[in-house]
Symmetry: C2
Subunit: 212 residues, 2 copies
Amino acid sequence: MVRAIADMIVTGQMLPGEKLDEVSLAGRFEVSRTPVREALRELGAMGLVDREPNRSAVVTTVTETYLHSMFEAMAELEAICARLSAERMTVDERRTLELEHKASMKLVHTGAEEDYAAHNTEFHTRLYRGAHNDHIFEMVTQTRARLAPFRRAQFRLPGRLAKSYEEHGRIVIAIMRADGTAAAQAAYSHVEMVSDASAVFVATGEPGARST
Amino acid sequence: MVRAIADMIVTGQMLPGEKLDEVSLAGRFEVSRTPVREALRELGAMGLVDREPNRSAVVTTVTETYLHSMFEAMAELEAICARLSAERMTVDERRTLELEHKASMKLVHTGAEEDYAAHNTEFHTRLYRGAHNDHIFEMVTQTRARLAPFRRAQFRLPGRLAKSYEEHGRIVIAIMRADGTAAAQAAYSHVEMVSDASAVFVATGEPGARST
DNA sequence: CGCCTGAAAAGTGCATGCAATTTCATCTTG
DNA sequence: CAAGATGAAATTGCATGCACTTTTCAGGCG
């Protein structure tokens, strides 16, 4: 159930500031309020909802500066993962990463945004796993989840798919060369691009853009 | 109440693997089981306790490899904070950091372990704040909390106080020079030292050492 | 003597109910 | 007409109770 509610937030079905009242959710999931309350607590600890005493839980509205801090943190974390991946990935991991990347080229050509988005998620997850550090994996995964609402529309920008593919390519090459510094550099600027692309939608008031 | 239980875990009053049964805690805090359950959920989301269906919550036992991954993550995070602090701290923040650092010298000479530990916490917190990135601040703070049980005894190692002071000094100097690279380097190796110092106690079976 | 079996005890998961707080609409007043 | 006061409805916080699962332990069996 935590997963279900988290998904609704992360996928943008619930907008920041929206109230999550316990009885409605209890009805929606056909359980009593007790498990709902526990789920909301957990979501609160995850940073997805804000809770104040005697008030309804609300989907967290991130301020513009906090959003910026998350994107910056994301860039740093991805840079670390890319560097460690360049140093630590097994030959199998490297080969798979490269193969999957090259396979995604045809998605770019056909302009399959949905499919490319899925590939993109997997690509980055491979990077996180390749760092061989479970705690970093958890941090980067959680941060990525909280940023999801703001990244969603990025591939709708014209030419973004091709750009993304090209940036991935730079990361892959650096990792294949075991060049940690270059990999970190490439990953950092890749996230910066995503951040810029997302900023467009934030500014135009797309889902999740409302800020305090 | 979450805070109270978290403190018991972080300060080592509760050892990894220890069961947290709801009725006892309810009695201990003189409330019913409901708020206790919610607190345990939250602690679970924070990674301090493990919860499985129909089983008592237990204080998280970190495996040796996961502990290692947390220390490594901590080094990376502190390095980032030090680098960003070197680039972004205001003159006030820099001055305070330096003053507090120099003031701590006499704690080293008198061998006041408790007081130095308190100073140490504040020193690092200043570093985290100096990065001017709220999300990174949250991540590093949470990671630090989870590592607390394993770092506790480090200052009991002979000569550790002086070493720590010296390492802090290197970080301070780099930050005063606005040399981000040197600051990151100094912070990273500082955490590595702490990791090594803590490993001694983990190996000897001090509180929090039990691993799966 | 050790191991399996099963029943009792203990503990968790969830529903429900009540007190306390917040919220919202309406009424009052300057 | 706007701003504040007021009371009822809605909502949260917590206690309690019951069903179900896990654990424990005593007795029987190999």
